[in-house]
Symmetry: C2
Subunit: 259 residues, 2 copies
DNA sequence: CGGCGGCTTGACTGGTATCAAGTACCGTGG
DNA sequence: CCACGGTACTTGATACCAGTCAAGCCGCCG
């Protein structure tokens, strides 16, 4: 019942300034949005440049694979997935992103987004033109530090994923995935043991390199073993420590998605 | 016969300044080493700070997993692998790096290298303290641009790897790997069709998430199909287009390791 | 010469994909 | 309100790819 949709409703009912303060707390690029070291004029400039808190419905695109890279996005509420279409025409999900996490950095190399980003539910994001990030990061060492750290987390996350895909079996992958979600929810002040998945079994399978049926079977098996309780997308982690062991002990830390 | 060891010998025989010029041409962080926009004093500073062209023998470590992150490294000749030791104590190779490629960026998040880097053959690298990269990137937009692009390539490379691991079978993985190497060698002015592997079958298997035996079998099969000729580590690509098709068409571009 | 590590090949096994069927759920429209 | 269709999910049966075990070859080095 810690679903983010509750959050969205709350958000809509609030004056936007208040919502900003609430959600930007702990945001990676907070200095960009609330630069207390900058003068009034600059702040006003920012306000006009940033697209703070644009709302997307489930299935709507934040950016498309192939589009020119010009901005990064901070998730303020909700969640999204990024995926690439392979030459074979299949979808490959590369990551999921939740509130406070930053997406879009992959465009850094080719200046074109190598993936598309789609909202998994009603989701709000802040669009931040990359030129501004660059420019401001020259002035604000704190922000620069955050940017590097965020990039590092994204790299870590991918490396962790490579490890998962090349060394772990189906059960270990699913356990890793659940522990990772649990960890990320906890960091955001939600329950670590009880949450609602915002993605389908099929999307989990795609992400983890498993068939839908396999994901489903593992969920069932975990349930029989009293590791979790799963009713549709509602998940309860009954035995976190045992699940952590199953995951190969690599579910912790800041892995998967930049915070 | 385009082996890098020839290169090393050549290098040693040359006056070091000349060697620098030759190898730094096309180097990602060239502006850091030859900053023509900076005054003489600064250049002298750089000379004292940078560790240009340190040589490592096969098996020697450039940096260790867990060490404090303080520098990035540009490979000048030879090659190296980076790997993490998992909680289960297994080795997971995360990438290979060749001349002109940059490694060490993964430490950006935790300020600690999440992997170890080991020379696969006689290898020279330039050690560049990250504080210098940061500092100079503030002054040199060109360098900053390069840095971002390099980071982006590393992200691309990992994403590509995730795709390979979660969607491709053994043959596609090996084909992808060979095409990728071919592409990278070509970019460096070596033959795209004929080269010597600097890593063992076992290391290829580890990297691709396959057993050694599987790698060996795929090499044999490719040979029977006249796709390649493989004599130990000496590889000749006989039918690049067919191999590219086998790889799932995703072997191209700047994927795998930052240039 | 013998030993050892890297590589190859064969036989067998097992985990996961695939195919197939059935159920539950949800939004839509009557 | 219910009927309907579609999607998401589950579960079972079967097939196959790749891992594991085992044996042998080759080249290198002590």
């Amino acid at each position: 019942m810690k679903s983010n949709s509750d959050k969205n409703i709350e958000l809509k009912a609030m004056p936007s300034s208040q919502a900003n303060v609430m959600l930007c707390k702990g945001c990676t690029l907070d200095p960009l949005c609330h630069p207390n070291t900058l003068d009034k004029k600059t702040v006003d400039d920012l306000d006009s440049v940033f697209n703070r808190g644009v709302m997307y419905s489930k299935g709507e695109y934040i950016y498309h694979q192939g589009e020119t890279f010009d901005a990064v996005y901070v998730v303020r509420s909700g969640s999204l997935k990024t995926y690439a279409i392979t030459s074979g025409g299949e979808e490959q999900i590369t990551n999921f992103y939740f509130a406070t996490e930053l997406t879009g950095l992959n465009g850094l190399n080719t200046k074109v987004y190598p993936v598309s980003a789609v909202a998994l539910e009603t989701t709000t994001v802040c669009k931040i033109p990359f030129s501004n990030v660059e420019e401001l990061s020259l002035k604000l060492p704190e922000l620069r530090e955050n940017l590097y750290s965020t990039i590092g987390k994204e790299l870590d996350s991918f490396q962790e994923m490579i490890l998962t895909l090349s060394k772990k079996n189906a059960e270990e992958r699913v356990a890793t995935f659940l522990m990772n979600l649990s960890c990320r929810y906890k960091k955001r002040g939600f329950s670590a043991s009880s949450f609602r998945l915002t993605m389908s079994r099929s999307e989990i399978g795609n992400f983890l390199g498993l068939a839908v049926e396999t994901v489903s079977r593992v969920f069932s098996k975990f349930q029989k073993q009293s590791l979790i309780k799963a009713e549709g997308r509602e998940i309860e982690i009954l035995d976190p420590s045992r699940l952590a062991v199953m995951s190969g002990g690599m579910a912790s830390e800041g892995a998967h998605a930049a915070q």
